[in-house]
């Protein structure tokens, strides 16, 4: 054990390892907060769809050789998020199909574009790392870390400020609207925040695994905790903890970062599921 700690502190001296941990903690914190709302609103799959869109946008950005590909990825993802989250509510089945259509479409077109136009010699590597996030978290530049910190702070600020509004819309959108809450505006806000989180989370775990980061902590917390507030806090704690553990294991054992984090989330879910079961049978 002391050996491991020594090794860890040795690795922590490298700035890129510290960046990875900072970004990992922030992204998992933000994604779990909104995850509770998405899961409860039955929008779990939105994260997946949006991350595929972000992947498609990334492909276009790299084909266009943009120096800062965020300039394209963020607006495109936000636009699609707004379209999916703000129009799909009256037509549940159509909305569901829309997500599937957009997500698979973006994935295919993105890969096609990368394959045809990419100047990089290692297309499969590029694709693989964006899909599974094998390396991107370890190859962050300082600007990217700063951007991530800034966006996370905006997301956290919005969430704290509008926490009660988000609760009221999540629990009962009709009631909220009938009593004068501007639900259109807040749905829009939620869509934008979700898109930002998805784009950030792509760095951490890759496009295919983003929804795990959104869904698992919320589901784990919901097994055991009984008020929205405690579920939110618990989801955030579980998510940050799992990300930290995941990153540390990945660094020490040399496993892929994204999948290790998701594996940690799955283990946590299993634990909370059992606790929930035990508690229910105890009553």
């Amino acid at each position: 054990m002391p050996e491991l700690i020594e090794k860890l502190s040795f690795y922590l001296e490298f700035p890129f390892v510290r960046y990875a941990i900072i970004v990992g903690v922030l992204v998992s914190l933000c994604s779990s907060l909104l995850g509770v709302t998405l899961v409860l609103k039955r929008y779990s799959y939105i994260g997946d769809g949006l991350s595929h869109v972000a992947f498609g946008a990334l492909a276009i950005a790299s084909v266009l050789k943009l120096t800062n590909n965020m300039l394209l990825i963020l607006p495109v993802t936000i636009a699609v998020a707004v379209l999916l989250l703000c129009t799909g509510k009256n037509t549940r089945i159509k909305g569901d199909a829309a997500v599937a259509m957009v997500s698979v479409g973006a994935l295919a077109i993105g890969y096609l574009l990368m394959n045809i136009f990419s100047t990089s010699a290692n297309i499969s590597g590029d694709v693989c790392t964006t899909l599974f996030g094998s390396t991107s978290i370890l190859t962050l530049k300082l600007e990217e870390v700063i951007l991530c910190i800034a966006l996370s702070c905006v997301v956290l600020f919005c969430f704290v400020l509008f926490y009660n509004k988000i609760f009221s819309i999540t629990f009962d959108e009709n009631f909220a609207r009938a009593t004068g809450v501007n639900t259109t505006l807040f749905n829009l806000l939620i869509a934008v925040i979700v898109a930002v989180i998805i784009v950030l989370a792509m760095n951490l775990v890759g496009a295919l695994l983003v929804s795990a980061l959104v869904v698992f902590p919320a589901l784990s917390a919901m097994r055991v905790f009984k008020s929205f507030f405690s579920v939110t806090i618990a989801a955030a704690t579980i998510s940050v903890f799992c990300s930290l553990i995941g990153i540390v294991i990945a660094i020490l054992a040399g496993t892929p970062v994204g999948s290790t984090i998701v594996a940690a989330d799955i283990v946590a879910f299993g634990m909370f599921y059992s606790i929930g079961m035990l508690r229910n049978s105890g009553n």
Binding site: L40, K41, D172, F175, V181, M222, S227
Partner: protein, 218 residues
């Protein structure tokens, strides 16, 4: 009843989804201190009408006028429970307090006055002992009373209730009706959509039958 003061005026009101009109060219006034029951078959447009009154559905034509200085934020609404809510991890207190969100553009924290008002509403609906309970673990009747407390928190003047006793056992339904009746006696105007014609006729001051779109006073 004293003289009738209209609280809501519907004029030539048409409501519906897509091409289908469920309410057509309706002229109707809801008066201050009415206990209005809306009855009718499924699909006759009762809930649609209520959604229109609640401002969730904009009229295809005609208009709904709020009179006597009635504000949207003074209307409490008890929608039918959704699947999402049945399994929602939230405490009763959180749900009741969320009623205040419509009254403030920005409300990151609840103040003492709001907590006290929430307690009052919970007392009125006999849910104060459930304050810390988890919503999804309550019985159907308790859930409805919590949602009624929330509607009450939002509204001092007008309550719109959409089938508040559907799915409840007779005893819970009875409690619910008694609470609503008390609220009406204290001066709240009630508009209730219901399947339960007998109960409606017991307590209501007016009945609106969507099967005939004829309106009877009592």
């Amino acid at each position: 009843m004293n003289e009738l003061i209209p609280l809501i005026k519907c004029r030539q009101l048409t409501l519906g989804y897509g091409n289908k009109d469920l309410v057509r060219d309706l002229d109707y006034d809801v008066n201050v201190e009415d206990y209005l029951c809306i009855i009718g078959r499924n699909g006759s447009g009762k809930t649609t009408f209520l959604r229109g009154l609640a401002g969730l559905l904009s009229p295809k034509s005609g208009n709904i006028e709020l009179c006597e200085g009635l504000m949207r934020s003074e209307i409490g609404y008890l929608p039918q429970m959704t699947v999402v809510q049945k399994d929602f991890p939230a405490s009763v207190e959180e749900i009741v307090l969320s009623a205040f969100q419509g009254k403030h553009r920005l409300l990151p924290f609840y103040g003492r006055a709001q907590r006290e008002r929430a307690m009052e509403c919970m007392a009125l609906t006999r849910t104060e002992s459930l304050r810390k309970s988890c919503f999804r673990e309550l019985s159907g009747g308790q859930k409805q009373r919590v949602l009624l407390a929330r509607a009450l928190c939002a509204a001092e003047r007008l309550l719109l209730l959409d089938e508040p006793v559907t799915g409840l056992d007779p005893e819970s339904a009875d409690t619910m009706y008694r609470i609503i009746k008390d609220l009406h006696r204290k001066g709240t105007t009630i508009i209730m959509v219901t399947h339960d014609v007998d109960a409606a006729l017991d307590d209501a001051t007016r009945v609106m039958n969507f099967d005939q779109i004829s309106v009877k006073g009592k």
